[in-house]
């Protein structure tokens, strides 16, 4: 299991379209993916779960990935969040 902290950088935060991109990305991997915020833990492969985080720009999240391809999964998710969901929003 790997854990990593990230900050949401895109303007509008984790609204519908970035959330959809995040779910799409993480669902490509076998590993389980969870997001922690304020003591809540949600399934990162569930768009409704991601939306209930209501994470705005600047929000700090902790990612947790657990499974056979966890390293690759974490890399991909971290990149997507780090570049502000560039592809999904352009």
């Amino acid at each position: 299991m790997i854990k990593q902290k990230v900050v949401i950088v895109n303007d509008a935060g984790l609204h519908a379209r970035p959330a959809a991109a995040l779910v799409k990305c993480s669902s490509r991997f076998k590993s389980d993916f969870f997001i922690h915020r304020y003591g809540h833990r949600i399934n990162g492969k569930s768009i409704l779960g991601v939306l209930t985080l209501a994470a705005e720009q600047g929000a700090e999240l902790e990612l947790e990935v657990d499974g056979p391809d966890e390293k690759k999964a974490m890399e991909a998710i971290d990149e997507l969040i780090g570049n502000g969901f560039e592809e999904a929003l352009s």
């Binding site: 509008a12 768009i47 409704l48």
Partner: protein, 592 residues
Amino acid sequence: MDLKKHYHRDMSEQEASTKEEVVIQGVPASPGMAIGKAYVYHKKTPEIEDGRIEEEEISAQIQIFLNARKHLKKQWQKLLAKEKTKQSKAILTAQIAIIDDPDLADQIKSNIKDKQYGAQQAIDKAFAKYIDKLSKTDNAMMADRLIDLSDIRDRLLEAAGTKSVPSFSKNVDILVSKEISPREVIQLSHQNIKGFIMEQGGNTSHAAIIARSVGIPAVVGAKGVMEQLKSEATVCLDGDRGLISINPSTQTRKRVEQLRGDDTHTLEEQLTICRQPSRTNDGTPFTIRANVEFPEELEKVQQFRAKGIGLLRTESVYLNQEQFGSVQKQTAFYEKMLAQTEDHPVVIRLFDVGGDKFQGTKISESNPYLGWRGIRMLLDERSILRDQLKAILITAGQHPGRIKLLVPMVSTVDEITEVKKEVKKCQQNLAGIGMAIDQDISIGIMVEIPSVAIGAASFADQVDFFSIGTNDLTQYLLAVDRGNALISKLYNQAHPAVWKLINHTVEVAQKNAIMVDVCGELAADPVAAACLLGMGVSSLSMSPIRIPGVKKLLLNRSADEMKELAKQVQLCVNVKEVEALFNKWEDNINHV
């Protein structure tokens, strides 16, 4: 939002004379004009069968849910396949992810298995949990999205066998509802709907975003419309200003008919017109730019080849502070506008808010149009002005020569001097921290107050350009509130007095060698546009959907004809003469 009720009788046309015109002010959500029959849609929550199920029914109920989900996903994918704009595709994709949500499915299944709810109740309860959570976040944007979720729930319930909610008939002209889901906007846009009116909701709702990106006029936040408007009644909507007219007078109808999108040409024909170089038939170049407020409109701006943005309205930035509260977010908004307009100019108008009409402040004024709005408000609220200038000037530093700053509601030269001081101070600060600035950024004023047009000479040497706002200029010059149905027939931008002021302003600009643009409705009327060019206006700016119609006429006429028209219009003594002249000119293609 105020609701005005006026009795209007138009003797010239019996048809419109029996019912009173009612005007409702809402929030503009997607530009353009529409007229048609209203369909007032009262959404009902589906009736759900409650009670527990027997154990042997569990697997059948789970199957009902799975089939419903499969059916729904197919429907959404069908819509997605037909969509052309990025925005609506992205929104539909996110919705499909909701339909497919693994946690949602687990909860529905567990509701059936463990709690022995029927499929319908299991679905309803699972959604209720999410809707409850989302409605508790203090993020206004999330709250705007609840309609997306309840729409998916209702369709899923329908597919799982609840009594079907009455759907709209195939031929809806104008859909009126408390809230409209993005799926409904997309579906109806495939069926030639003319416009949308929402009683609630904001202009950042998904429905509004999609309406803008597919170019269908919409007004949101129209309080009282569900009560005032009955299905089958005729309704006009003005998506540029957020006005709704129920039982419109002949005058209102005429105006809307004139300013409606071009529906006599197919999109392909419109694109062909727009691909041609902007030259009159004797080779004189002209410039058409677009009036823009939202990023979703940029696709149309590119499609119709506007030479940049002649008027970037920023009021929605001001009103949606939650999203644009920081300088950084504002900068990102301007940056987006510049990134998608090649190397063309972008004229950014400072916030034109203030007064209760403009919803921006809590101050109530007895006459807001003559009150504390535009630069008058900004100079009293310096921090708002400074934040906006900072965001604009940072963006300008990245794109030297492209941004022009437009100051609204200027009535004295001192106001310009103050703005220039603020610009200079802000640029010094930016340069001080090593940021790029556009040293020669153009600063211009809206010419919309009659005293400014008459005294244009005293402003001309203080500014780099004029932009004539014919909408407010007409209202102030003729002393007619266009939202007042009792007198709205007196409102006509082609009034000879308006032309006199435009002509004077253009002459002064030319004498001082500064640019003069027109960004009001007048520029969007093809013959008036020709007359403006004939008068010597530098560029015309209009709602993107108006570009093909205006450009078509300009391509087919000569600069000499336009000059002659501009001369003739000054001999007219009343609106009737102007209209007769314009009609004759339009019909007389081979004249000169």
